[in-house]
């Protein structure tokens, strides 16, 4: 069993396989970096499947919003993966504003290291390497299952997954089933427990658009805020599909979820997912109705985590007090919903 570099158990790594076509996906990425800030998990890798280069750039921008301090090298952070298909799929209009925003000097407002395809990582490899980087990992699938299925056939991948991946969470928001054969392969051959996060979970706890600014009030500009604004007519509430599933991936024992009895998950030829209790090993998730408000607060709190400044050596002085990683107070109560969730633009 791998050990932490300085002993002890390192936090769980999360591998996020996303199409990044909905605001909940952008929020989920912020949430995962929030967990990393709090040392509750760490980002194993991000891999874009089913979208184009700007989406990979957008994901890179979000990562760099949280990774302050010196440039990190390839031993520390894996470049965002992108499934290389020709031609690349179109990007969601959600990501464009952040990618195109400029500062007063005409430079990109958000720093990023991806300019071209070869700045991104090979998709199936970055999925596996993201797991290899961690002693324990969770995989969050919210993209066509193409590359995750392909990764199963890499040398020794099944053994690595079996040893290290504690759970695979499949988000039913319409994307994993875009490659039906690949999803069927994953469902049939994945070597560790699978959890199914149906649409009802995200619909049950929508992200309140009115809370957007407060969530990210620690910074005047944030790519997730730009994406959320671009994805619908503000203010609107967005279903929390990936946001909720990412929370479960990291904290399955939070008490916010109820689990079905083990069952089977099938995907029809036209991509419809159907969970049937009994006769299988997959569990379906449901938000505990009594804990919806608490769950929403928890997600808002994590998604809104302010990144810590790089640690300084030496004693804390008046010069640096109050700067490094001072997190904002958590939400006292969830903001009022502003509009129904259906306000999300239908460009995904």
């Amino acid at each position: 069993m791998p050990q932490g570099r300085f002993g002890g158990k390192p936090p769980m790594g999360v591998i996020y396989n996303t199409s990044m076509t909905r605001p909940d996906a952008a929020l989920a990425l912020a949430e995962l970096y929030g967990f990393e800030e709090k040392r509750e998990s760490r980002m194993g890798s991000v891999c874009v499947v089913g979208a184009g280069l700007n989406t990979a750039i957008f994901c890179d921008m979000i990562g760099r919003t949280y990774m302050l301090g010196p440039e990190r090298n390839g031993n520390q952070v894996l470049a965002v993966g992108l499934a290389d298909v020709k031609p690349l799929p179109p990007d969601s209009s959600m990501v464009r504003p952040a990618v195109e925003r400029k500062n007063e000097k005409g430079e990109p407002l958000y720093t990023h290291s991806i300019e071209k395809l070869t700045d991104t990582s090979l998709a199936e490899t970055v999925l596996l390497n993201g797991v290899i980087f961690n002693a324990d990992a969770a995989v969050l699938l919210s993209a066509p299952a193409t590359c995750l299925a392909r990764s199963l056939d890499l040398n020794n991948a099944r053994e690595v997954y079996k040893e290290r991946v504690k759970r695979l969470v499949i988000v039913d928001a319409g994307t994993p089933q875009k490659d039906v054969p690949a999803l069927r392969k994953v469902l049939a051959e994945w070597p560790t427990p699978i959890f199914y996060c149906p649409k009802a979970v995200g619909d049950a706890v929508p992200f309140p658009g009115a809370a957007l600014d407060k969530t990210f009030e620690w910074t005047p500009n944030h790519p997730v805020v730009d994406a959320y604004r671009a994805a619908g007519t503000m203010p609107y509430n967005a279903p929390s599909y990936d946001l909720a599933a990412a929370h479960y991936a990291v904290h399955p024992d939070s008490g916010f979820f109820q689990l079905s009895e083990p069952g089977t998950l099938t995907v029809s030829d036209d991509g419809k997912l159907a969970f049937k209790p009994g006769g299988g090993q997959i569990r379906s998730l449901q938000v505990d109705p009594a804990k919806k408000d608490q769950f929403l607060l928890a997600m808002l709190d994590i998604a809104g985590t302010k990144p810590a400044e790089p640690q300084r050596r030496g004693p804390r002085t008046s010069a640096n007090a109050g700067q490094a990683g001072d997190s904002k107070p958590p939400f006292a109560k969830p903001p009022e919903p502003a509009a129904p969730a259906t306000a999300v633009k239908k460009d995904q």
Binding site: A79, D119, F133, L154
Partner: protein, 449 residues
């Protein structure tokens, strides 16, 4: 018309007491009226392993596509050969990374480079890797040549003990692994290499070996009778080729003898005190000349050479560098140290360019030896200062017998395993294993077909 001429066997060797000398491709080995390029023209595979990473600022060409007239500083010695090389960027050796283990990057860098698997951390005898890419090819094709493969090194090897934070010396000194537990130590002694190439397969008794060494008789002299018989059957062109070839063997033999007789001792920074040319460039040339002859005479088609062991502390007084290589690579931004690393990298590239030029000047049918080779020049570390294992410095020299179209800089997506390159290479010689380490396939866009 009746053709009576009988082709000479491609694997003809000259034999004498305690000697067996392979031959280059002669016209007489080609059937009359056949193409001068045999259909089964052998493709040679070689790997030049560079220790301690590279000054990457001066390695990577600025843009993808055809190589420009001016290459970056470190690759500049290869400029006359720019149409014969392919610069490949962004390859990764994932298992060299610290991952959850931490220090030990040098041991892992080398051990994982050609195996592409996790390096089991041990300083004991319980080594665990997998068969390296060259040996996958050698295990499949080795029966075609007298030696399945050739492992060469330019530093004396150690096989036991802790050499890098709990990693066995075997991991730091061997790039080639016959099996998951059996490294193939590189031959670093010129005479040993010479005898491996040209000595008889019959094992001599220690007494006979000592007697022959005492006599200092040339291997060529001992094969003289066979040589004369062969010459009588050859045409003028072949006689000249044979003479040139035997002369080059003789020169190598003399080089080995000179090195042994010189009696010079070298700076304590180097671990080999005897039998090795005093100057590193001479040592490099002598050993690579023997590789060249091994390829030319089809003694083997697969070779690895460790330009230095991983973590090498060799100084380079020949270019005014008294500091050890490895300490210099941990420059921490000190530009004077970095400049010395830069100069060492250039020296290595110059010597590699010399070797490639010799291959190119070695005619083989209508082509040349370089065209019929695929030779990797690279390292399992990119930035030696911080021990990164991605964006590896990689040059592929040769065409592999009209297999690839060089003269380009190709950039792949990041995290593309370097094993994909090796899988591409060994596929060229007809070997198609399910995996080569952590390969995900072959390198698209590298091959002509």
């Amino acid at each position: 018309m009746i053709v009576t001429r009988k082709a000479l066997n491609r694997r003809t060797i000259l034999k004498g007491f305690g000697a067996a000398i392979g031959l280059p491709l002669l016209d007489a080995m080609t059937p009359a009226f056949a193409s001068t390029l045999p259909a089964n023209q052998p493709v040679r595979l070689a790997w030049f392993y560079l220790p301690n990473g590279i000054d990457m600022r001066n390695w990577t060409p600025p843009a993808e596509g055809p190589l420009g007239a001016r290459l970056p500083d470190i690759l500049a010695p290869l400029t006359p050969l720019k149409d014969d090389i392919t610069v490949i960027s962004n390859l990764t050796a994932n298992w060299g990374r610290p991952l959850l283990v931490g220090a030990g990057d040098h041991g892992r860098a080398l051990a994982a480079y050609m195996t592409g698997v996790e390096v089991y951390r041990t300083a004991g005898a319980d080594l665990k890797l997998t068969t390296s890419a060259d040996q996958i090819a050698a295990n499949a094709n080795g029966h075609l040549t007298r030696l399945p493969s050739l492992e060469v090194g330019l530093e004396e090897t150690r096989q036991a003990g802790n050499c890098d934070n709990g990693y066995s010396c075997a991991y730091c000194y061997n790039v080639s692994w016959k099996t998951p537990t059996q490294p193939l130590p590189p031959i670093s002694d010129p005479r040993n290499l010479f005898e491996r190439l040209f000595g008889d397969d019959v094992v001599e008794s220690p007494a006979a070996h000592a007697r022959r060494l005492a006599m200092r008789q040339s291997i060529l002299d001992r094969a003289m009778d066979d040589t004369h018989k062969l010459e009588a059957t050859l045409g003028g062109t072949d006689r000249r080729k044979l003479d040139e070839y035997l002369t080059s063997v003789r020169e190598i033999e003399q080089g080995v003898e000179r090195a042994e007789k010189s009696g010079k001792t070298i700076d304590p920074g180097i671990e080999k005190p005897f039998g090795v040319p005093h100057d590193f460039p001479d040592y490099y040339r002598l050993m690579t000349d023997m590789m060249l002859v091994a390829f030319k005479s089809d003694i083997t088609r697969i070779s690895t050479i460790m330009v230095g062991r991983e973590g090498s502390t060799r100084p380079y007084p020949e270019i005014g560098i008294a500091d050890g290589h490895h300490p210099l690579t941990h420059h921490m931004g000190n530009m004077q140290m970095l400049e010395k690393v830069h100069q060492i990298n250039i020296l290595h590239a110059k010597l590699f360019a010399e070797f490639l030029t010799k291959l190119k000047n070695t005619k083989e049918g209508d082509s040349n030896l370089l065209d019929n080779s695929l030779i990797v020049y690279g390292s399992g570390l990119s930035d030696g200062n911080v021990h990164t294992h991605d964006k590896l410095p990689t040059v592929l020299a040769g065409r592999g017998g009209k297999f690839i179209n060089p003269g380009r800089h190709i950039i792949y997506q990041r995290e593309t395993p370097v094993a994909n390159l090796f899988a591409t290479m060994i596929q060229r010689v007809g070997v198609r294993p399910e995996h080569v380490g952590d390969s995900t396939g072959t390198l698209a866009g590298l091959c002509l077909s």
